[in-house]
């Protein structure tokens, strides 16, 4: 695993979590290592080293470009609400890592994702991406929602090209969008209206649209929960494959244990009232990151069962 080689201060924390003898790490409200955000001017110092190391291991990726995400002493409460919906969240996601936030509804996992995306601002603490505090939405970190929310007056190509258009990069559309559509296997539908597509295909368009601006971080807010089982399985597989090929950092919010085990390298278990992290565990440590993670693979099934057990014990009623 490339990530274990990191020695930079920013990535020490998850390494600690991973090296812990116990697979279950109780979230410590007072971290032993005081974490400082990286200086705003300097990008994460381990980036170049990280990219070279990962380029070596995945030949299919032209350049690896995952974001480093650090959440520091973050608390949030909605206006007019007495109880905080998130308390003392400290979390680091290293570049290229795929992390699942799992928890029952109301544990604040979706709120946390919105805060990372900059679609909301936390009451206390902050989110730092590559050392810079997140203050607003940006095409560098893109969120995908449960509903594909495509624009029904546009074709598949026009939808996928939207981020480039907004970024003033319309010149790249002709070159980049066909590549994206090929990646999500929608090339034959390029000129079709999105209303002609099935739910799964629409979510694939949404994925292409999210990836168009070459984001470093993909935030998935239960993006497959409205799909049927077969479509969901193929999208789970393809999203993992594509994001790994691109080297993206991914944060996935889900209430589906199997989905977390299928897609993520690491699971953060959250509990409600107040929303907090109760466990942080690696997933499938024995399997290669490129393993297809079939349900009939005993190692995968064991990992899934363990996550389910952690979830049952710690995630609240």
């Amino acid at each position: 695993m490339a990530q274990t080689a990191h020695t930079s201060p920013a990535s020490r924390r998850p390494a600690l979590g991973r090296l812990a003898l116990s697979l279950i790490r109780r979230a410590d409200p007072t971290p032993a290592v005081a974490l400082r955000p990286l200086p705003a001017a300097a990008p994460a110092p381990d980036r170049t080293q990280d990219e070279t190391s990962r380029q070596g291991s995945h030949r299919s990726s032209p350049r690896a470009r995952g974001a480093h995400v650090q959440i520091e002493a973050l608390s949030h409460r909605y206006r007019g609400m007495k109880a905080p919906c998130l308390t003392d969240i400290d979390l680091t996601v290293t570049p290229g890592q795929i992390v699942a936030l799992v928890g029952r509804s109301g544990c604040g996992k979706s709120t946390l994702l919105h805060l990372i995306a900059g679609l909301m601002q936390p009451a206390q603490g902050g989110v730092f991406i590559d050392g810079n505090r997140v203050r607003q939405a940006s095409p560098r970190w893109v969120m995908m929602f449960q509903a594909p929310s495509l624009f029904p007056w546009m074709t598949v190509t026009q939808n996928a090209a939207l981020g480039l258009r907004f970024a003033g990069r319309a010149g790249e559309i002709a070159k980049r969008v066909p590549t994206l559509l090929e990646m999500v296997e929608l090339t034959p539908y390029a000129q079709r209206n999105v209303q002609d597509l099935s739910g799964g295909q629409q979510q694939r368009v949404a994925l292409a649209r999210s990836l168009a601006t070459e984001p470093e971080l993909l935030l998935l807010d239960e993006p497959f929960s409205a799909l049927d089982a077969f479509t969901r399985a193929s999208l789970q597989r393809d999203v993992r494959r594509i994001t790994r090929e691109l080297g993206l950092t991914v944060v996935l919010v889900t209430h589906d244990i199997t989905e977390a085990a299928l897609m993520a390298d690491r699971a953060i278990v959250m509990a409600p009232e107040p929303g907090r992290v109760v466990a942080d565990t690696p997933l499938n440590p024995g399997l290669s990151p490129d393993d297809p993670r079939r349900r009939d693979c005993p190692q995968f099934e064991a990992g899934r069962a363990r996550l389910a057990e952690i979830f049952e014990t710690l995630a609240g009623r």
């Binding site: 624009f151 258009r165 209303q195």
Partner: protein, 277 residues
Amino acid sequence: MTDATLHDVSDEDAAARRAHALSWLHSLGIGLLGMGLLLALWALGGWWIANTPGMRAFSQLAPGPTLERLWQMAQRGEIWSMSWPSLYRVGWGLALAIAIGVPMGILIGRLGWLRDLTNAPFQFLRMISPLSWMPVAVMAFATWDGAIIFLITVAAVWPIMFATAAGVRRIDPAWLKVSRNLGANPFHQLFYVILPAIAQDILTGIRLALGIAWVVLVPAEFLGVSSGLGFAINDARDSLDYARLGAVVIVIGVIGYALDMLCMLAIKRFSWLRSET
């Protein structure tokens, strides 16, 4: 297997096209039948007028003389010369109503406080017949054209504004969130999300507004001006030329119908909602 499937598909295609053509012919037939009924009713009225003592002066209003006069007017190019000033005034009035109504409608739809603030005054103003502004308009504008365009604008602005506001309120909030997430600024949101999303609502508002504007136009042209369809009606009445009166009425109806059809086509063109067909 593939051949059979292809064959079936093209067969189904042809069947669908036949069914479509059939239903189109059917609706055309019904439409023609309706117009025929109207013509028959008109002929009946003409016959009644011609055979009622004391009404005979109006007998020229019957279909025969009216259509004959219409043909004459068409040959002399009179139809065009009387319609053009009216179309010019309606065009300007409608353009101004769109220029005011669409931005106002978007603001009212987006801003709750503005909606609350303007609701009562707008509903109040909307209920005042635009023609009651006639004396004010005549005083306020240097030209008669200006006054008429003002009256048409006042009549047409409300349906456009309210239809736009209703459309904006129905926009899926997820579209705005997604576009913001993709890096859209407010300008992008307006031109790539809001306006395309409500194009159909705006056009429906314009269609309603056009109907009202066309109705208001004729009485507005009764005063002052010496051109246009309203003037032609007034002129025909003053010169007791009832065949001409009838012919102008037909011109007004046909143009209004044609403009409405144009709006319908535009709505069809810009509608992104899938119909059941």
